[in-house]
């Protein structure tokens, strides 16, 4: 989650759901919390009962809105203007919590004189390389420093290495703590958001000034020493071509209001799968190794290059070599040493974007032969289902592991001619295996095996362990250097019974141990870069401290305080609230009794939580001019992962599409960008494929309506875990769309009747709910209708229906390659559909280009696919 990673240093929710009860105002935006996270929502209700104001900003009036003090209907895809408007309000009315902002953020840092803002360049920041279609971030840096390496989101376009750790001199960067310098971050923000006025908010988001200002007032009234506010978001924010910048916008607000690292504050990322946080911490992702350690890049020829690029001059990323070497020891054991560069040369290298959509588009072109799908149902859950099915049909072999016969396993039924071999392996359920999930607030919780898996059902753990054993055997006698890593791979795990791995043994490896004493490690501070420690995921070090399975701790909540530190274990170092050093003022005293959390008691940091700071470093500590690494963290640097210890209002590096959030319209919109001539995010990723036609940027006569997708309480994502269950299916039995009374009248839709929704990619049929919960908005003088589409249904299961994702095109945010499914365009008509797929020819001329002429040459797009021959 770079949005948070870049701003604060770690890619995870900054607080825990129970803490929401202490908020004085909660803004839920880009999330439908009551529906998608009902049990976590109890803490919002607790806050409400204590008098907190609840705001829900959403295109639809949902079950969350029903509980809110104020629902703000907004046009999908315009949130950056709404949030930018709040930033504008804070800055122009001098509502920022300056005592917090000046010491704890980079507001005072002065930026390179070469920097130019989108306000000056009509939607571009300085450093745009039209030939490459990407930014060179040199001019974004702090003035007078060599480099400002980002912490939370390691470089996605890494440079050649060399020259040792980066950003050693960051601490020397000039700051103006009066915030008056015209090029200090605070002033740059003011300039950048000068035009994000209430009027603009109304013009672009369709939110009347009165409503908008109400939100601003509630937020600012509940900021400062005595009061705090929280933001809750989910994929309603992330799934846009500017997704990361949405979250950045909220981060900026929370920094300015002094809400980070304090009770009732923070940014709660609400995530949709049991261990989705875990699967980024210990990633099944192409660009990362465990603990947010970047994959090797082809540009980094040696271990030195790799370490130089990724080691920061300050903050805890300065210990990068220790984290990496320990990982290699966990992976390869004795087979790696200083002499063979700890096995670095064995690591496969990335050369750019290998994300899901890129992989699938390669698949459709026959570039991929074998595919493993485990516990995911892309045919329903990923955008452009037609492409997904095409891709699967071009494979040589496909392995699907799931509980039930999901669409992805049975895609071939409508393509009997396809050559793909399909293996379906029945999976074991969570009740049939031991293991840990990492929940949305970075909390590891252990689930115990209750019964034996039936028949041939196996856990992924046993499956991959078995597969590994067979492959090691297959390569055992090979002399080919490419097979060395497999031979060297440490692959012996304690078994409970033959073929059944003890998950706890794997957790032991993740936690790591001291290779000299053989003792388990208890915190990541103990990691060494000399090969004497091994740890499979450095941020998880401590989860088996003292050899105890900490995630399995279950001390009842009644028997501990509200933070409940003895329930499970959260990374890092069992900290429940990140950056909690900021809950105390620069002198280490609580900002107020009401918001007391972690504070300096004279010799150490103490309080409700594990301090997110060096335990014994006094507030008064200041680093010497040449101190680097952890030494460089001063007593007033709460953001210890950051190279400069500060929260980043302005991101001098790490983001591909700009240091400050800027409004761009979605790939497919209904109005021109009212802020800049540049219509869309210039750095977005497009996929120009036959099956992936785009509509016009806006004003497409064929697709006049805004479509947005979402989940329902009664179902789970692509339905693999809900559409087979009668107790859930009966509650939401059929695919439907939600439309306003006005649109229903305009198009002739009847409540309960059938409708067909169409895009250039596909058409789907669904039942219609005509409801006052959907309302047309006035945007730039025109009426904009929005259509809501849940996306749970597919062609198998107890209840069946068309899949919304078939409608959506591949187009992505550049930073995380996430699809844009929360705002796109389409059409709707009464009645049922005929054929399912459509390949609508592109209109000869695009009404308006998405990009300023010449600034994003089509053929030279990075990570962009050339059109297929037709």
């Amino acid at each position: 989650m770079p949005g948070l990673g870049i701003s604060f240093g770690r890619g995870g929710a900054t607080t825990f759901v129970q803490d929401l009860q202490h908020s004085d105002v909660i803004v839920i935006q880009g999330s439908n919390m009551a529906e998608c996270h009902p049990v976590a929502f109890q803490w919002v209700m607790e806050a409400k009962a204590r008098g907190a104001k609840i705001v829900h900003v959403d295109p639809r009036f949902t079950r969350t809105s029903a509980m809110a003090d104020l629902h703000v209907p907004i046009r999908a895809g315009s949130d950056i203007v709404f949030l930018g408007g709040i930033i504008h309000y804070i800055l122009e009315n001098d509502k920022a919590f300056k005592e917090y902002v000046i010491p704890y953020t980079n507001a005072a840092n002065i930026i390179d004189p070469r920097f130019r803002d989108t306000e000056e360049l009509d939607g571009f920041f300085s450093g745009w390389r039209a030939d490459k279609g990407e930014y060179d971030e040199e001019s974004w840096r702090y003035q007078g420093v060599e480099e400002v390496p980002a912490a939370g989101h390691k470089e996605v376009v890494p440079k050649e290495g060399g020259g040792g750790p980066r950003g050693k001199d960051v601490k020397k960067a000039p700051r103006d703590e009066t915030l008056q310098h015209p090029r200090c971050v605070y002033q740059l923000l003011r300039k950048h958001y000068a035009r994000y006025t209430p009027e603009k908010v109304e013009e672009i988001c369709g939110v009347p000034p009165k409503t908008f200002l109400q939100v601003c007032e509630w937020l600012t009234q509940n900021s400062g020493r005595e009061r705090t506010g929280a933001f809750c978001y989910a994929v309603g924010w992330t799934q846009h071509t500017v997704g990361v910048q949405y979250i950045r916008s909220a981060a900026i607000i929370q920094m300015l209001l002094g809400n980070m690292g304090r009770p009732g504050g923070g940014i709660m990322a609400l995530r949709g799968h049991a261990s989705i946080q875990g699967s980024t911490d210990i990633p099944t992702l192409y660009n990362l190794l465990p603990g947010y350690i970047p994959m090797a890049h082809a540009k980094q020829h040696s271990l030195k290059d790799y370490l130089d690029v990724n080691t920061a001059g300050g903050g805890f990323w300065s210990n990068f070599p220790a984290y990496f070497v320990s990982l290699m020891k966990a992976y390869f054991g004795d087979a790696v040493s200083k002499d063979n560069q700890w096995g670095y040369p064995w690591l496969p290298s990335v050369t750019g974007d290998h994300s899901h959509m890129t992989t699938v588009s390669d698949m459709t072109q026959g570039k991929i032969k074998g595919y493993f799908v485990m516990g995911e149902n892309p045919v329903v859950g990923s955008t452009n289902g037609g492409m997904q099915r095409d891709g699967l049909a071009k494979l040589e072999w496909l392995v699907v592991r799931d509980l039930a016969m999901i669409e992805t396993a049975e895609f071939w039924r409508e393509r009997p001619e396809c050559e793909t071999e399909v293996f379906f392996f029945p999976a074991a359920a969570h009740t049939e295996k031991d293991g840990s999930f990492t929940n949305t607030n970075r909390l590891l919780q252990w689930h115990h095996k209750a019964v034996e898996p039936p028949g041939d059902c196996k856990s992924e753990l046993d499956f991959v362990y078995e597969l590994g054993k067979r492959l090691k055997a297959a390569y055992a006698s090979s002399t080919d250097p490419k097979d060395k890593p497999i031979q060297a791979l440490a692959w012996n795990y304690r078994e409970i019974k033959p073929g059944e791995v003890d998950a706890d043994a794997v957790l032991e490896e993740i936690n790591g141990k001291n290779l000299v004493t053989g003792k388990p490690l208890s915190k990541y501070g103990e990691l060494k870069d000399d090969g004497t420690t091994a740890a499979g995921c450095w941020i998880y070090v401590g989860c088996r401290a003292d050899g105890v399975n900490q995630p399995a701790r279950r001390k009842p909540q009644r028997e501990q305080d509200w933070v409940a530190r003895e329930w499970g274990w959260s990374w890092p170092d069992n900290r429940r609230m990140l950056y909690n050093r900021a809950s105390a003022d620069p002198d280490g005293k609580p900002w107020s009794e009401r918001k007391r959390y972690v504070y300096w008691n004279g010799e150490k940091w103490t309080g409700f939580d594990t301090a997110d700071f060096i335990p014994d470093r006094p507030p008064s500590y200041r680093p010497g001019p040449d101190d680097t690494g952890v030494k460089a963290i001063s007593g007033i640097d709460p953001f210890i992962m950051q190279v400069d210890g500060k929260a980043w209002l302005y991101a001098p590096s790490g983001l591909l599409d700009g240091p400050m959030p800027t409004h761009y319209e979605p790939e497919e919109g209904v109005v021109p960008n009212a802020m800049y001539r540049q219509e869309c995010n210039p750095r977005r990723l497009e996929y120009h494929l036959r099956r992936n036609r785009y509509h016009r940027a806006f004003d497409d006569p064929r697709y006049p309506y805004v479509l947005t997708t979402y989940r329902l309480t009664e179902h789970h994502t692509a339905g693999g875990m809900s559409r087979w269950l009668s107790w859930l299916s009966e509650l939401m039995p059929e695919m439907f769309c939600e439309v306003s009374h006005e649109l229903a009248a305009e198009v002739g839709l009847k409540n309960g009747g059938w409708a067909t929704v169409t895009t250039a990619r596909a058409q789907i049929e669904c039942r219609v709910l005509v409801t006052g919960r959907m309302r047309p908005l006035r945007i730039q003088g025109r009426t904009v209708h929005q259509i809501g589409l849940p996306y749970h249904w597919g062609s198998t299961g107890l209840v069946r229906g068309d899949s919304t994702n078939d409608l959506i095109a591949f187009v992505a945010d550049p930073n995380v390659q996430i699809q844009e499914s929360k705002a796109f365009t389409g059409n709707i008509r009464p009645g049922r559909r005929e054929q399912r797929y459509r390949i609508e020819p592109e209109l000869a001329e695009l009404a308006e280009p998405r990009d300023l002429p010449g600034l994003r040459p089509y053929a030279t797009q990075p990570m962009q696919h050339n059109p297929e021959k037709e």
């Binding site: 039936p454 269950l725 009668s726 409540n751 309960g752 107890l798």
Partner: protein, 320 residues
């Protein structure tokens, strides 16, 4: 894939909860009616559950009434001295009791559990009280078939049980949440009793042979039919206090039956009033009277179902 609506694999999970033995074939019952755009109710859905009883119940109302009244009638005739009709009455009472029991069991969800009706004595439950009445009546009516003094005493008892048997079914109906039945709480009993009298006299009228019997039976038949027509009016008037509630008497199946009942009884009355009517006319009067009596029970029964279907009947009745 829909099996028992729980779809649990017995090798993986055990079903042992309270409802786990609830038999479910998977077919959908009581489907939700089409929602109405009706801001004053919940999408126009009925607020109450419609009575689940089948036609056997209103038909039992008739048969029970017939049997009970017949027992009473035959006993009355006995006071006058010997008559063929006395024995006929006892047969009708006995047969009626048997058929009544059969009809009631027929309507049960689990027939073999009919005996549980006598598990307790619940004065609060007209159905329970009715069961005891019917049982007593059945016993007496059986005894009444025995010749001699035992038979006569039993017949007397049957008459005593027969009268409440003829009327309690109205209390059973009015002791529900169904607006029109509940509203008719005091006006329905006379209607049912009168209707029972019509049922019995109509049959006797048709069967009477001697002039002596005929005179009595006709006199009673005329009075019974008059009072049924009268109680028709009083019932209708009483439930019309809330127009929404009375609706079913004027429209639909129930409305038609309600009219038919009047016509039947009215016509039957006319024939009964015809002095020196030929035997055919007497039989016709009997048939019409019987049909009328049956129609009355079915009309009231159907009216109840209809008044439940309309949420506003319930709302306005309660608000009134």
């Amino acid at each position: 894939m829909r099996t028992d609506g729980r779809n649990i694999d017995p090798t993986l999970g055990i079903l042992s909860g309270e409802g786990s033995h609830q038999r479910a074939t998977g077919k959908l019952e009581h489907p939700t009616p089409e929602p109405q755009n009706d801001p004053d109710s919940y999408y126009g859905l009925p607020m109450l559950k419609a009575p689940v009883w089948k036609a056997s119940i209103p038909f039992y109302f008739y048969v029970g009434g017939l049997a009970g009244a017949s027992a009473a009638l035959s006993a009355a005739l006995q006071l006058r001295g010997s008559s063929k009709l006395i024995r006929t009455g006892r047969y009708i009472a006995f047969g009626g009791a048997a058929v009544s029991a059969a009809l009631l069991i027929e309507d049960l969800g689990i027939k073999k559990r009919f005996i549980y009706m006598m598990r307790v004595f619940r004065p609060s439950s007209p159905m329970n009280v009715g069961t005891w009445i019917l049982s007593a009546f059945g016993g007496a009516a059986t005894g009444a078939l025995v010749p001699g003094i035992i038979g006569d005493i039993s017949a007397g008892l049957a008459a005593l049980c027969g009268l409440p048997l003829a009327g309690y079914t109205s209390v059973l109906l009015s002791n529900t949440a169904v607006p029109i039945w509940a509203e008719g709480g005091t006006s329905m009993p006379p209607l049912f009793v009168a209707s029972a009298a019509v049922s019995a006299t109509s049959v006797f009228e048709a069967l009477a042979e001697t002039k002596r019997d005929l005179r009595v039976v006709r006199r009673l038949a005329i009075l019974a039919k008059l009072s049924e027509l009268l109680t028709h009016l009083t019932f209708e008037k009483s439930v019309s206090r809330v127009p929404e509630v009375a609706k079913p008497l004027h429209e639909g199946v129930s409305g038609a039956l309600w009219q038919a009942a009047r016509v039947g009884v009215g016509a039957s009355l006319a024939l009964s009033l015809w002095p020196k009517a030929p035997r055919a006319a007497r039989i016709a009067a009997g048939v019409l009277g019987t049909l009328g009596a049956i129609a009355t029970r079915f009309a009231v029964f159907e009216a109840g179902k209809a008044s439940v279907r309309d949420p506003h009947a319930t709302f306005e009745w309660q608000r009134a």
